[in-house]
């Protein structure tokens, strides 16, 4: 049987609606609903719509939604949601069974997170970020058939930020430690910055070549350096050139040239000396030859330093004049520059002066010269010599006696010259007597004064005729080494003579030349060739305690 019921209520549900309430409907009954529209023109009926009210139930939204933040001890706080079913839904009788669903999102978020809860009316949430605000809403639906209800009103909850004592402590400890480390680092840098830098970036060591004394390099004495290297006579210094030139130019003018400013008296000597020098050297090459030139040069160069000091001393002793003598290489006047400008050509001709009084200087020079000479000598002797050890020994340097003049005069010949050249150093002093200092038996390394000499006569030094004799003497001793060569001139007035094979030279001692010079002078003006070579004892005597070398000691006395 079909019964047609017209809509009992057109208003409750709004416009274009019909409200059939509970009285007019029942479960499990299929209703056919049609809408009939009528106007002036006529009427029309819509399509039928079949409906069973059982299946279109939509409950009301849940009510009493509550959010509660629970904070258990030693655990993270969590959120508890509770709600109630809508009041009209008869859940108690079981007639209607509702299912619930949550929606959650942080306040700033955009998407809702949907959580199906089921038929329970409470829910716990654990994974929430502290410090954020969340929004929650719930809706429900009949368990089998029906549609979802509207969402409940939004609920807000603020999750409190979680300050844990543990975290704070950890951060504080970390901060303190790092600050301590920074402070320590800064202090270390401040106090030992350089060391740290050196530790991290170790300084690159400079090249170290054996035999080269960096100090030498610094002072700029190339001759010494080169001699240390074993290269004598290279490069030719200006002095040498000068020497050479002068040498060539002047022939007999040496005397005058020698020590123009010389104190009187000496000039003659100088002259003598010079010629000797020149002669001897003239033939040779400039600095190549073992000639005096080189030695002289060296000596002169070295001299200056030594001489300088000497000057001081000399001042005390001698005066003036000597200076000239001091300067230079024997060979050339130029050296004079060192000292007083007086150029005694003959390099240290001071020897010449010596006779007067500057023995010290002279000696000094001579030694120096000799030294130079030796140095210049081509022989590259190992001149260990130097200085110090031999202090006692007197090395003989080729005295460039030229200065001596008298002695020089002799020049004797080439030999002499040559010798002188080499020796240049005239150390006149000392012992005029021949002590053949050369003979120093113990010569240690001495500079070989005359290279040339070696062949001829051991006598290194040469020079004066008188000396020549002596030189011969030197040679004679032969066996002993010849220290004709001044291996090096140490700054402090030490001339290192290298022992020559034949002649033994005593090492130059550093003694004030003064005394030696005196000796020399005494010795003989001319003859002085005092190479105080081998006579250490003697030399020693003369050498007084000053620092200068005592040329006399070195110089063997050539008589």
């Amino acid at each position: 049987e079909e019964q047609v019921y017209e809509c009992p209520d057109y208003r409750t549900a709004g416009p274009n609606s019909c409200y059939f309430d509970k009285k007019h409907t029942s479960f499990w009954t299929i209703y056919n609903i049609t809408v009939k529209a009528t106007n002036e023109m006529g009427s029309n009926v819509s399509d039928p719509h079949f409906v069973d009210v059982t299946y279109i139930v939509q409950p009301d939204p849940p009510v009493n939604v509550t959010l509660e933040l629970k904070k258990p001890i030693n655990r993270k706080p969590y959120l508890v949601l509770t709600w109630s079913p809508p009041p009209l839904a008869d859940v108690r009788s079981g007639w209607l069974t509702l299912e619930y669903e949550l929606q959650l999102k942080p306040e700033e978020g955009e998407e809702w997170e949907t959580i199906f809860v089921g038929q329970q009316t409470q829910y716990k949430m654990f994974s929430l970020n502290p410090g954020k605000k969340y929004i929650v809403q719930i809706h429900c639906k009949p368990d089998h058939h029906g549609s979802w209800s509207e969402w409940s009103s939004e609920k807000y909850i603020q999750i409190p930020t979680d300050f844990r004592v543990k975290d704070m402590v950890v951060w504080i400890v970390v901060g303190v430690l790092s600050s301590l480390v920074c402070i320590i680092m800064s202090w270390t840098m401040v106090l030992k910055g350089y060391r740290m830098i050196a530790f991290i970036l170790p300084p690159v060591p400079g090249p170290k070549i054996k035999g080269i004394d960096t100090h030498l390099l610094e002072t700029g004495k190339s001759e010494e350096l080169l001699s240390a290297l074993g290269c004598h006579g290279f490069p030719p210094t200006s002095d040498c050139e000068e020497l050479l030139i002068e040498y060539l130019e002047v022939e007999d003018r040496e005397d005058q040239q020698h020590m123009p400013s010389h104190d009187n008296g000496h000039p003659s000597k100088n002259a003598k000396m010079i010629p000797n020098e020149t002669d001897s050297d003239s033939g040779r090459g400039s600095c190549d030859s073992p000639s005096l030139l080189s030695e002289k040069c060296r000596e002169t160069s070295t001299l200056p330093s030594t001489l300088q000091t000497k000057d001081v001393r000399d001042v005390h002793e001698n005066k003036g004049g000597k200076r000239s003598w001091e300067t230079q290489c024997i060979a050339s006047e130029q050296k004079t520059v060192h000292f007083n400008n007086e150029t005694t050509k003959s390099s240290t001709w001071p020897a010449a002066q010596l006779p007067n009084n500057q023995p010290p200087m002279f000696a000094y020079h001579s030694t120096v010269d000799a030294h130079k000479m030796t140095l210049s000598t081509t022989n590259v002797n190992t001149a260990p010599v130097l200085v110090g050890n031999e202090e006692k020994h007197q090395s003989q340097y080729p005295i460039i006696e030229t200065v001596h003049n008298d002695m020089e005069k002799q020049r004797e010949t080439e030999n002499v010259h040559s010798k002188t050249d080499q020796t240049t150093v005239q150390v006149k002093q000392n012992r005029p007597n021949d002590k053949s200092p050369f003979l120093n038996p113990k010569l240690m390394d001495y500079v070989e004064v005359f290279k040339v000499r070696q062949d001829e006569e051991p006598a290194v030094l040469l020079k004066h005729k008188e000396n020549s004799g002596k030189t011969e003497k030197y040679t004679v001793p032969g066996t002993s080494k010849e220290y004709t060569k001044v291996s090096t001139v140490v700054d402090r007035n030490i001339i290192v003579l290298m022992p020559d094979s034949r002649i033994q030279h005593t090492f130059l001692s550093q003694e004030p030349a003064m005394e030696t010079s005196q000796n020399l002078q005494q010795g003989q003006a001319e003859k002085n060739m005092s190479y105080c070579l081998t006579v250490p004892s003697e030399c020693k005597r003369e050498v007084s305690g000053s620092e200068y070398m005592d040329p006399s000691s070195f110089m063997p006395s050539f008589k």
Partner: protein
Amino acid sequence: CHTSGMLTPNGKEYAQKIPREELTHLILKLLQAWKEPLSHFNQHIEHHQELPDDSLSKAKQISNMVHELKTGVEKVTEKARFSINSLNGMASSEAAGLSTSNEANMMSDSDFIHCFRRDSNKVQSYLKILKCRIMPENSC
């Protein structure tokens, strides 16, 4: 529907007014009424090629569930010691069910399914009410 002839409460109020034994009886009657038609239906759709395989298995599954549900309700009724009269009523309804099954065969498949849905909903609702009446503590 072939079970339209049965008098069943159409609403919650009616269902709550009926005594429990009667309600139980009614449930059993419904379940019984559908036993035969379901088996026929399964046989019927097996021959249909166009239906997806899921439908066939589902239909069989539903038949089994109905059977099990009936068995369960019978056990509950025994325990509740409902009157024997209801049991007798069951027998008579079976006869009625037989007759109705013929009608069920004549229904179209869609109507058949629709009727079945309605009756199963009834059974569910009645059972829920019954449950809350007997054991009110759980979600009632």
